[in-house]
Symmetry: C2
Subunit: 125 residues, 2 copies
Amino acid sequence: MTSPSAIQDSYPYQNEPIWSRSEKTIARKAFDAALGRELHEVIQEAKKMASQIQQPSDLWDLEYYLTQRRKEIDRKYDFRGSRLTDVLGRLLYENRLGEEDLRGLPEEKMKSIRSFAQFLRDGAA
Amino acid sequence: MTSPSAIQDSYPYQNEPIWSRSEKTIARKAFDAALGRELHEVIQEAKKMASQIQQPSDLWDLEYYLTQRRKEIDRKYDFRGSRLTDVLGRLLYENRLGEEDLRGLPEEKMKSIRSFAQFLRDGAA
């Protein structure tokens, strides 16, 4: 039999950062703005690719582009509290957000977000 | 042990129609023309859909449309001899081919092709 203390020890989210309601509001606004800009880019690129289609292979290139971008966007924009620090860090790293978009978040969270952006910069170098 | 006659009895293609080289040439020309016309239609539709994209859902509608059309075209345009009668019959049924495109095929094959087109008409009625 599993004892209550064993359950508590295996609880996987004990180090998950807590996001207050007001912090989530700030994060949501920045997140939605970045998502909107990224979707706008994909729309513009799809219109351009479609207007230049000359042969069937161009058509399937467009399909492949859209599928890849949809999957990438689905993966990237994950608003769960357990993922939010990394998600915002990645958007910062990709210049889809500026620090000014996150104004109002406590310094401790900004540190974690910046730190993940730096981690990605180091990995790309 | 499997005897040679058992192998012969289980040979699955014994009733497959034989397509001579000249018949295949006629079929190929009609098949390629129908495929070209269908791809041209998809290209026109994709350009139109892309030009009308206003919001992200329109973008993913375009992706879905392209994926469905690609799969449908892959399934439909199968040039194997064992499938060719049904494939040409379907193209006839869909008005993607006229009988004049198949001029030169022996009456026996035309009968089978017409018969499959009629089968599809009956199924759709």
